[in-house]
Symmetry: C2
Subunit: 331 residues, 2 copies
Amino acid sequence: MKLKAIAIASALAVAGTAWAASVRDEPIQPIQPAKVTNPALVELGKKLYFDPRLSRSGFISCNSCHNLSMGGSDNLKTSIGDKWQQGPINSPTVLNSSLAVAQFWDGRAADLKEQAGGPIANPGEMAFTHDLAVGTLRTIPGYVAEFKSVFGSADINIDKITQAIAAFEETLVTPNSPFDQWLKGDDKALNDRELAGYGLFKESGCVACHNGPAAGGTSFQKMGLFEPYKTNNPAEGRAGVTGKDEDRMNFKVPTLRNVELTYPYFHDGEAATLEQAVELMGRLQLGRKYSEQEISDIVAFLKTLTGDQPTFVMPILPPSSNATPKPNPWQ
Amino acid sequence: MKLKAIAIASALAVAGTAWAASVRDEPIQPIQPAKVTNPALVELGKKLYFDPRLSRSGFISCNSCHNLSMGGSDNLKTSIGDKWQQGPINSPTVLNSSLAVAQFWDGRAADLKEQAGGPIANPGEMAFTHDLAVGTLRTIPGYVAEFKSVFGSADINIDKITQAIAAFEETLVTPNSPFDQWLKGDDKALNDRELAGYGLFKESGCVACHNGPAAGGTSFQKMGLFEPYKTNNPAEGRAGVTGKDEDRMNFKVPTLRNVELTYPYFHDGEAATLEQAVELMGRLQLGRKYSEQEISDIVAFLKTLTGDQPTFVMPILPPSSNATPKPNPWQ
Ligand code: HEC
Ligand code: HEC
Ligand code: HEC
Ligand code: HEC
Ligand SMILES: [Ca+2]
Ligand SMILES: [Ca+2]
């Protein structure tokens, strides 16, 4: 991560000119910084995102599987859920996920708010129910007061909970990557290898799928176009949502923003390194066999997509009261 | 938590006069704010504290069981460890633990540095080995660079790791509680009930054990002096360290700082509420049966021991490299 370069770009941003659109006409556009319209809602959402009391065990929070210290995922092949259950699929990053056309690998949630209700009630993840989660928060005086001040009424319900979490997630964008600095006109932001890698990425057709500000997240695509993808993971992708056979193995194209941080790769987490992922993408999606040099150039380019990670003060959660149901992780 | 009061005290602190010692001669003294002499060492320690790669599974960090969003503990009866193992004992808070005479319920570690090596290699907690943890960090370029800049040499070993974690933990003090404001001369910092509770706490003899700046942590004491403590938990306390039969059920007196946040109570986590804990302490340690009013006054006083929680920016962890061993949580 080019921390120095990022610091300089931040200084420019303060000067108030750097957030203009790209000066180059490219299939990937710069990430815009978050515009926070309701900071109190975001602050509440941050607390909920970090609160393990939204899970049956009292141990697992959103941040357990989408760790904001680690690029917004858990860096495991598939996630660890309630009772150490082995999850079915790789945890995607929450960074920049607000930019995607839909949520989940198969797009089964339309947006972040709809998505956020899922894991709380998923028996393999937080294993709670919406009613129990709401009931728990209602017994926590600090939350009651905060919901009241944010929403104007003290009633807590799942709609407000997911709205707050989504508002926090919308702030989790990563502007200022070296690639974005280059897009905005700084010719020195990328070195020759990185530029060569980007050239290859464009010309060989990666941008057909990985495009837009998130370099992904704009469409669903078949995994395994030129050769079938071999995996033991039973996930069927988009077909599970549409019921159509032609959607089998269609997945939401993942964002390549911060891909340096979101190892391991693919929906099954079976590619351990970026080199493996790029080699496979070339072969399976484009019918092209890259040389080692080409792979290494593309990887160098992909690492320029690491942006400023969201920095914020760890939330302090309001304590439970005597009325709060006690978690029992082993029941 | 009296957030307003705390904010005012912080303002005083900035004015530079408020850190004087107590103006009252009491058995509990104010918590002093942390004096950071080596900020880079603290910053490295913070990263390590939050890094789940110090565990076999890649999922559990110090913060999993000593969650700094929740008063430095996990609010479970006993902790969840590697593979969802049920821990043997309640997780004590790390807040102000630098003030204690020794570490762990039975005091088997002399200080924070000695303590920090324990959980990494404990099969029921992080379930790693020191060699594997060190080996993992050595493959992470960001850590290699940071150890080099902090220690002057790039070599990473368990001694440096535990030194950095301990330096971070030393910053986890919680000054500025309403009780400390009162100790420093602000007569309005406590209301009548809180003062009555403190009066009872002193006169009935709680301060014989819960004394010093941490209101605890200064000695080992028998749990169950007037009546034996009934529990199914097999922990023997200090006897496990000294081998002496008279040390059976002797535990380090826990700090009462932030006790509002560190539920459930006692080494077995069997007291769910502060009211239960106080009732039991009165009966078992002092042979005294408090009225409901007395219990409620003492609890009101105990809640004035909640201080400013450590606030800091969430660390961003350096990414693994291709050489980093892959965690396999289910092996
Ligand atoms: C036990 C692990 C786990 C927990 C806890 C968890 N998630 Fe997830 N999350 C996942 C996995 C795995 C997926 C992918 C599931 C799929 O696509 O079928 C996912 C998907 C997502 C997505 C979609 C991202 C994308 O690009 O499609 C978002 C957003 C998200 N989670 C946010 C949250 C929030 C908010 C919470 C807490 C309320 C949460 N997660 C709790 C593991 C977890
Ligand atoms: C036809 C569409 C398409 C093309 C062309 C394509 N990709 Fe992908 N890419 C995808 C899809 C779909 C996935 C997710 C597959 C999965 O997880 O099973 C993906 C995943 C990835 C990943 C892993 C991301 C993660 O977080 O797991 C990387 C890296 C990647 N692509 C890079 C590239 C590169 C480099 C190229 C060009 C060589 C390329 N892609 C071409 C559709 C495409
Ligand atoms: C799986 C849960 C778990 C993990 C992970 C864990 N701890 Fe603990 N910690 C505990 C428990 C339980 C105890 C009490 C053990 C005892 O006293 O026998 C404890 C005790 C302590 C104490 C002593 C506090 C006191 O008042 O005596 C400190 C300090 C501490 N841990 C710091 C850490 C650090 C630093 C890490 C990471 C390197 C860590 N812990 C990881 C559960 C955990
Ligand atoms: C003779 C020593 C002694 C006296 C007197 C004493 N305590 Fe304790 N206190 C302890 C010990 C030892 C523990 C830990 C016991 C255990 O966990 O098994 C403890 C635990 C506690 C706890 C639970 C703390 C936690 O984090 O688990 C509270 C609250 C408490 N004491 C309050 C009081 C009050 C109030 C009084 C007076 C009524 C009192 N104590 C008197 C020794 C004492
Ligand atoms: Ca991944
Ligand atoms: Ca406790």
